[in-house]
Symmetry: C2
Subunit: 397 residues, 2 copies
């Protein structure tokens, strides 16, 4: 790596003005002197454990991006009038790295996430940054946190890049000030006791996304409205998640925070894997969704289609015995079988809870093998960086 032209002056951690992005070369690292005990890999819950260090960088219009820092995880100090706390000006990404069978740590398709993050940032009115510089920094963070990457197979280190609007001003406008940060945490096997099919509530009274809205972007504002309906579905109706419907014809769009796939025999008698299309902006362009499509297309055994599926067409197929498998896809589970759908008080039975379809299982195994590098694959990206480089700016806390 080259030495930055914009080394900080004395104790200021600002970069020189007019830099269009922060740079990995400018990274300042402060290590914790109080490392936390690491949780057991058994029954690791999602999102509850944060590792020791985080990445953080701030933007102001006058100074541009500040010097990027990796530092111990501590509460952020946010002004109570900061726009993120009032107008939801925030976005995030979710990605994982794995301790592979050769002992090396690798990330799964990180640029897919960072490309999507850039699109969300533009849609949210956040300042631009260089995704490749961010990737370098995330790799440094993972290197520092490498003992936080679980040793158990099926566990991984979850990586959460986030942008928030920090300007302390209550006008509903683009934020002058922004913060970009990344936290990580070990996360467990989604199916610690084997794959289990979930039950979804499909209730047309709640709508997740709309044409002209932001359903196709990973913005915080897509999630808050889903929380109370999900709580109700779980508490009152024994459903684990929600199948979000759209339109008078009740199109299936997403399953909770997952994309949705249906394997059926279509009206023409062909075996077909269908998922709702990205056009229209109702569907989050999931990295796992894209990977599933690419994997199954590469197998070239089944027709793969991105097309609207209405509840009417689905129920007709179900009644005619043409629905074979339904599953969600996402970073957390890779694929998650759907066993039942509760729709208009009617129980649609696809499969028993313990009964997982062969395609669902095959996709899961295939991508899981890629994650742990049981089969080397270009989707897995090394986190190797020059050790000297990575430690160049380290200071003790």
């Amino acid at each position: 790596m080259m030495v930055s032209l914009f080394q900080p002056v004395r104790n200021t951690i600002r970069c020189a003005r007019f830099i269009s992005s922060f740079r990995a070369d400018d990274l300042h690292i402060t290590l914790t002197d109080k490392p936390k005990p690491k949780p057991s890999d058994d029954n690791l819950p999602f999102g509850k454990n944060t590792s020791d260090h985080m990445f953080e960088v701030d933007y102001t219009p006058a100074l541009g991006w500040s010097r990027p820092v990796i530092r111990p995880v501590e509460p952020l100090k946010i002004h109570p009038a900061a726009k993120v706390l009032h107008y939801a000006q925030e976005l995030f990404e979710g990605m994982k790295c794995y301790r592979c069978v050769d002992g090396k740590i690798r990330m799964f398709r990180p640029m897919e996430n960072l490309n999507r993050m850039e699109r969300s940032a533009v849609r949210s009115g956040f300042p631009p940054f260089d995704r490749f510089e961010l990737l370098k920094i995330i790799k440094k963070l993972i290197n520092i946190e490498q003992e936080w990457v679980p040793y158990s197979k099926n566990c991984s280190l979850y990586i959460r890049p986030t942008m928030i609007a920090t300007e302390p001003c209550l006008g509903v406008t683009q934020s002058a000030d922004s913060k970009l940060y990344v936290i990580t945490g070990p996360t467990g096997a989604y199916f610690p006791t084997g794959m289990k099919a979930i039950r979804l509530l499909a209730d047309p009274q709640y709508v997740r996304a709309w044409p002209g809205g932001c359903g196709g972007f990973k913005m915080g504002s897509n999630y808050a409205p889903t929380v109370a309906p999900l709580f109700q579905a779980q508490k009152e109706l024994n459903c684990q998640s929600i199948l979000w419907l759209f339109g008078d014809d009740h199109q299936m769009t997403e399953a909770g925070t997952m994309n949705l796939f249906v394997l059926w025999t279509n009206e023409n008698g062909e075996e077909e894997l269908v998922t709702p299309p990205l056009e229209g902006g109702l569907i989050l362009p999931g990295v796992t969704r894209k990977s599933v499509l690419e994997v199954v297309r590469e197998w070239n055994e089944i027709k793969v289609t991105e097309e609207v599926i209405t509840m009417g067409a689905f129920i007709k197929a179900l009644n005619e015995g043409r629905v074979k498998e339904v599953f969600g896809s996402g970073t957390a589970s890779i694929v998650c079988p759907v066993g039942q759908i509760l729709y208009k008080g009617q129980e649609l039975h696809i499969t028993d809870t313990e009964d997982v379809g062969p395609l669902t299982k095959r996709i899961y195994n295939h991508i899981n093998e890629i994650h742990y590098y049981m089969k080397p694959h270009p989707w897995m990206e090394s986190i190797d960086i020059d050790a000297d480089e990575s430690l160049r700016n380290v200071t003790a806390n």
Copy 2:
């Protein structure tokens, strides 16, 4: 006021468990020893100035609501994994108090805002609280900040109650922990140099709210998606705000952060004041909207209707010379005349920028007179509380 049964023990500020709400009687007040200089009332911007003190109370499932505190405004310490920063789990209210002509400070219809806040809290999955206790506390806060209430007519103290989800966990679920806080700040005349009509962009490519969404609730998630389109409208198209359209028939819904009113001669030849209806959940139930409806209905001179207005019907009326006035309503401006609408590249001219319709002006003057108590009115609520009570728990910082 009665002494609370749940006085805190030693230096813990938690209330006893099982309290269903925080209580004004439990309030602990710490005053700043570094009061900030107050800005001049001239050209006070909206939302940029925060007063010296804020109210804050926290909820955890194990302990219920903590002891409520009024303390100097300082940054909040928020865990980087807090749900508010990722999933937009946040809501707010906006209300004002005024220094009236008799020298007393009064709030405008505060329970309207706090009732709406309760509805937003339920929809957002936040824990319940007693709105009347919150009102008492807000009155105490205003008492403490009374020198922050501007002396100029047309200026006021803006009050911003907020709830945020503070649980540090990345699962998309209801937050175990929550924070409720209130900040205030002096805000200026919306029209310091006289009322001016604004120009709106009506672009159907962006949709603010939809049936089954949360457009009828004051949740942060409604606002983030509007920020980039607004920036574009202001920067590229010289529009001050956006007229949000809905549906294939391009229904007019809201004007920026304001509700929308049209005064026209309807197809039956009647003079009519129309605003889009609340049913359907597309429209925020504005307190000023409700007040305008009540005022004009009380005058009983013009027909008042809550009904869908499509762009088609509006343009037809405009072409036939039947559109008399268009204005937005909101806490910031009371009413704000709309002069032009840019729609599909077409300039719809309603009025010149300096030319304000008589009904718009009359409503503005009427509500403005209520605000400053030039005409005593039950909508204005005293902030008087027993001085001894209000200072009972005060300690110096």
